[in-house]
């Protein structure tokens, strides 16, 4: 069991006594894309927030169960900021911080104590290139991140998530605010990034999970319905009627 990057055991989360996750257990291997699908309000985002422990910043939540990363219990880690720096997060709506493009990407390294201009320059260029944004903004790194278009801002968010060199990249419906062409470009980037990190991809687009996911996990109403190789879930007989119905658009 030791070769999994992330192991989640019996994770139970509730908001103000209202259960959001009802005992999820999954294991995520390294260097693969782990796709999470499921209807709205089924706990997909909550799952991501448990991994980097930002859920505990929201009042009224209670979390039970364990999340282990590289065999270490994330819930017991004292250096929660160090933990969050190992994980890159991208949320559905882009949040350009009211800083320049450069400062947006350099924010996390700076907060982690990097001061050297040369190192920051290198990080900014590498991350923007990885997020397929460098060519569009390299001449205007000083403009405000919030002045970019929606699609550009989302790629800026991805660049920012990569800026602290994470081992795990979590993407939460990253493509709902961007056009199909850009989405495809980012998907290509993700395939490249897979060699370096473990990717958890939460998506509403079933076909996106099919294109990118090595393993797909289907969550419904806070419960794990099925997890397995993507080909199995998308085959004509996934072995679970609910999965078949959701993927083929019969419900949800």
């Amino acid at each position: 069991m030791g070769d999994y990057k992330i192991e989640i055991k019996d994770l139970r989360v509730s908001y103000e006594k209202k259960p959001a996750l009802k005992g999820i257990s999954v294991s995520i291997p390294e260097h693969e894309v782990f796709a999470v699908i499921g209807p709205a309000n089924s706990g997909k985002t909550t799952l991501l927030k448990c991994i980097n422990r930002t859920l505990e910043l929201e009042p009224g939540t209670s979390v039970r169960g364990t999340v282990t990363i590289d065999g270490l219990d994330a819930g017991q880690m004292r250096d929660v900021y160090g933990l969050r720096r190992r994980i890159g997060m991208v949320f559905p709506l882009p949040v350009g911080l009211p800083l320049s493009v450069y400062d947006n990407v350099a924010y996390a390294p700076r907060m982690a104590g990097t001061r050297k201009k040369a190192i920051l320059n290198e990080i900014v260029e590498r991350c923007l290139t990885q997020a397929a944004l460098w060519d569009e903004v390299k001449d205007r790194l000083g403009t405000l991140g919030t002045m970019l278009s929606g699609g550009q801002q989302q790629r800026l968010t991805i660049a920012r998530a990569l800026s602290h060199d994470p081992e795990i990249l979590c993407l939460d419906e990253f493509s709902i605010a961007i056009d199909p062409v850009t989405t495809m470009r980012i998907e290509d980037v993700l395939v490249q990034l897979k060699k370096k990190m473990t990717i958890i991809l939460v998506t509403n687009l079933v076909q996106q999970a099919r294109r990118l996911g090595d393993i797909t996990c289907f969550i419904n109403k806070g419960e794990l319905v099925q997890v397995g190789p993507t080909e199995t879930l998308f085959s004509d007989d996934p072995g679970n009627q609910l999965t078949y119905d959701y993927i083929h658009g019969v419900f949800g």
Partner: protein, 305 residues
């Protein structure tokens, strides 16, 4: 009621009875609300105009920078003007840090529990206490109990406590106006709460914190009750034209108290001197107000979202 038929395009160009009624109500609403706004302006202009006209003969440079003479019946108001500046400055220095830090704690760190609720309740209640009560508290706490005596420090502390709730509320509101998503984004990047506040929340809320603070500080310049028992005096002999007139442990003259005494306690003060003192006090407040507005406009121009 015969509603206009939408089958004919022409119906869109003629107002039916319903449309006419809507337009009539709209015009009426505009007139009433506009009228109320004019009613707000009228007394302000009338007041300022009247004061300035009556004060005009006495409004000279000598009046501003001169010392009171002949038992307040002639001369200037320099010591009172500087005294008020002292009080505003010291009270701001004393209460601004406490107010801002308490506001940051309440908005950013505090969880919703009984302690936070009590603090918030205390803030709201403190804001409703009349200034004369603060004055008596100041006498008891600072002048007598802390044995500071009647002095600038006692008076400033009294004013400071009086303005504290306003500073806390202003800070909380300014911080609250920064979108929560900015904080979440920073936390996800591994920034601690304090790093997030220092690099993201404060730089984006500083104008909302400073502007109300300046407005409240200058409003205290007009407060008479809190200073009359704790540090203001009727007359204090000083040298003319000096800027550093007082030491913090001395009593001082204050514009508001000066106006109170010359208009009620001293017989035979020329009318234009009374009006001129009022005009200076008003100008003092308006001066700071416009500074705050300029600052806010400047900061808004730099706002980045």
């Amino acid at each position: 009621m015969n509603a206009p038929s939408t089958d004919e395009p022409a119906a869109l160009f003629t107002a039916g009875p319903l449309t006419r009624r809507k337009l009539r109500t709209q015009r009426l609403a505009g007139a009433v609300f506009g009228g109320m706004s004019v009613i707000i302006l009228a007394p302000l202009f009338a007041l300022i105009g009247y004061l300035v006209v009556r004060a005009w003969p006495a409004l000279t440079w000598e009046f501003l920078t001169g010392l009171p003479e002949k038992g307040m019946r002639a001369g200037g108001i320099w010591p009172a003007l500087i005294g008020t500046l002292y009080l505003v400055f010291f009270s701001l220095v004393l209460s601004a840090p406490v107010g801002v830090f308490a506001g940051i704690y309440l908005n950013e760190y505090a969880r919703d529990n009984w302690f936070t609720r009590i603090v918030n309740l205390a803030v709201v209640n403190l804001a409703g206490v009349p200034s004369i009560v603060y004055a008596l508290f100041g006498v008891g706490a600072f002048v007598i109990f802390a044995d500071l005596g009647k002095c600038i420090v006692s008076a400033s502390l009294t004013i400071a406590i009086m303005t504290l709730p306003a500073y806390i509320v202003a800070t909380k509101e300014a911080l609250n106006a920064v979108p929560h998503s900015f904080r979440v984004a920073c936390w996800n990047l591994g920034a601690s709460k304090w790093q997030t506040i220092r690099t993201m929340v404060l730089p984006n809320s500083i104008s909302g914190i400073l502007t109300p603070m300046i407005l409240d500080a200058c409003r205290t310049a007009g407060e008479t009750a809190p200073v009359m028992f704790t540090g203001a005096v009727f007359y204090k002999a000083i040298e003319a034209g000096e800027l550093l007139l007082y030491s913090p442990m001395e009593q001082c003259m204050a514009l508001s108290y000066h106006l109170f005494t010359i208009s009620t306690q001293v017989p035979g003060v020329p009318d234009e001197m009374l009006y001129a003192t009022a005009v200076v006090l008003l100008a003092f407040v308006l001066c700071f107000n416009s500074f705050a507005i300029v600052l806010r406009t400047y900061m808004r121009g730099k706002k980045k979202w």
